[in-house]
Symmetry: C2
């Protein structure tokens, strides 16, 4: 499906476009976990999350005509902002389908990157259908949030970079939403460090990938999971991401919202850095002892930092 060469090609496209985010270490953190931890700070990435990697890799790889015609996506989260930025960088237009009750700050942030925002009533309308209509009627190309080989390969560059910056790791821990980040990352890991272990992290209430891996096929949760990790709420794995992850992911562990809050607090107080709930969840699994990492060299992705001060206060006040 995707191979190291796809991720290397993505890294070349992203050079000078995505930030090479720092790898952060902390003696306090190492002591707390009993391991040597390398945090890949994708919260400091352009747009505040790793999502620009996949979005830009996809849009910049489109045939000229398609790229000129513009792109469309549906997302109320980090992918929306990433597509808006990437489209701008590729000198094309982006249309973002967002629910009309999305937080005004998110609508404004997306529009601020010159994207066109099309809102819909999420109780009455289907966003995929709206996006499909925009594809047909306006000649736009869909940029999926995860279920796409170029998107997966782009996300994998975060781990390719981490391994180049930190050296080999024994364990890699990443959050799992739709599964694009871990699909690309675990593919890179398998190729570069064949003996290393790739661990996914899901919220307790949203463990669709864990269940699917155990069942040997994609299962669907009964409804949108209740969790503060709003980036990890898909109810079923992507078709393509699952196909990849079934081969490259070793296992998936789950964390509670309280574990996530603890990790956000740790990052804030000890490391002076801001992670959104989804972004802190991989570290949450380590701090809560959910990952067997004793004595190991462990890579962890802090996948995003898009949380307002007001929301942070609500979560941790």
């Amino acid at each position: 499906m995707i191979q190291l060469s796809d991720i290397e090609a993505a890294a070349e496209r992203l050079a000078g476009v995505a930030h090479q985010t720092p790898v952060v270490t902390s003696r306090t953190l190492d002591a707390a976990v009993g391991a040597t931890i390398f945090l890949k700070a994708e919260n400091l990435q352009r747009g505040g999350s790793f999502k620009i990697r996949g979005a830009y890799n996809k849009i910049s790889s489109l045939p000229d005509e398609a790229r000129r015609g513009g792109v469309v996506t549906f997302s109320s989260g980090n992918h929306a902002q990433a597509v808006a930025i990437a489209a701008d960088l590729c000198h094309t237009r982006a249309v973002i389908v967002m629910p009309d009750d999305a937080p005004p700050t998110k609508l404004a942030a997306t529009a601020g990157y010159d994207a066109e925002v099309v809102t819909y009533d999420r109780y009455r309308e289907d966003r995929a259908e709206i996006a499909g209509r925009l594809e047909r009627d306006r000649g736009l190309t869909l940029v999926p949030p995860y279920d796409d080989p170029l998107v997966m390969a782009g996300q994998g560059t975060a781990t390719l970079e981490l391994l180049a910056q930190a050296g080999p790791v024994d364990v890699l821990v990443l959050p799992v939403g739709g599964g694009g980040l871990i699909a690309g990352s675990a593919t890179a890991l398998r190729a570069r460090s064949p003996g290393a272990i790739a661990v996914g992290v899901e919220p307790e209430a949203g463990d669709d990938t864990r269940r699917s891996l155990e069942a040997g096929g994609r299962v669907e949760l009964p409804g949108v999971p209740r969790t503060i990790a709003d980036g990890l709420q898909p109810i079923t794995p992507g078709r393509l991401t699952f196909e990849v992850n079934a081969r490259v992911v070793d296992h998936v562990v789950v964390v509670s919202d309280e574990d996530i809050r603890d990790a956000m607090r740790f990052l804030f107080e000890r490391m002076k850095t801001v992670a959104e709930p989804s972004g802190a969840s991989a570290l949450a699994a380590l701090l809560a002892g959910k990952v067997d990492a004793s004595g190991a060299r462990v890579g962890v992705t802090i996948s995003g930092g898009n949380v307002t001060a007001a929301r942070f206060a609500e979560l941790l006040g």
Copy 2:
């Protein structure tokens, strides 16, 4: 009083001990201020603030016998933690005099670095007197929080480093508490960039250095100023720091608590980094338009990041 050579000597002592903190830039910030801004991220320094620079420079410079005898200081803030860490690094003991009603987290953090905490009743006892008694009775050496040439020279290394990392600046903006950071920093700036301007920032209610510079002599505020910037609350400039600052500081501007909150929020939401109120105040002055910086290359020190998530929530929730 202090010269570039003192600061250079301090930098040599601090090599491998203090972190070389990153200089952070942001297109969004540059656009908001209309200048090219270089943030020196001392919130990422060991102990969470620049204070380790002065404390270590002082303690490591003590004659062998004095150093072996141990050190004492009085502080409930970042200087306490810095002295504890620096003493530990110099293989000597530190005694920290703190009010018995200091936040338990601060007491614990200081004790956590193997320092001995001596508490006192701040309504009945005088901390300087207690520290003086400890000096005499136990053969300890006092490490003042700012009013000391070695402490000032140590703090100045933050700016020496900034200029090496970012290149020359036209304007340097720093918070003013007791005046040690700006004394060392403006001395370094004068020597390295003779035409550049050094601007101090104080809270509106705690403008003792501004008033003193205007009066041409040290003035004392009637009481402890009410401000969220708890690191900037001295009621009068240090004797030695004022002597230096009267020569090297161009002027001092003031910020409101609301300006400081806005800067903390900007750092959190846009730059994903945590600053305590005092630590955000230099940036607050720029964002609030209190510093004439249009088109300039501006160095700004984010001086500390020691704020709990709970306190942050209280301030910005």
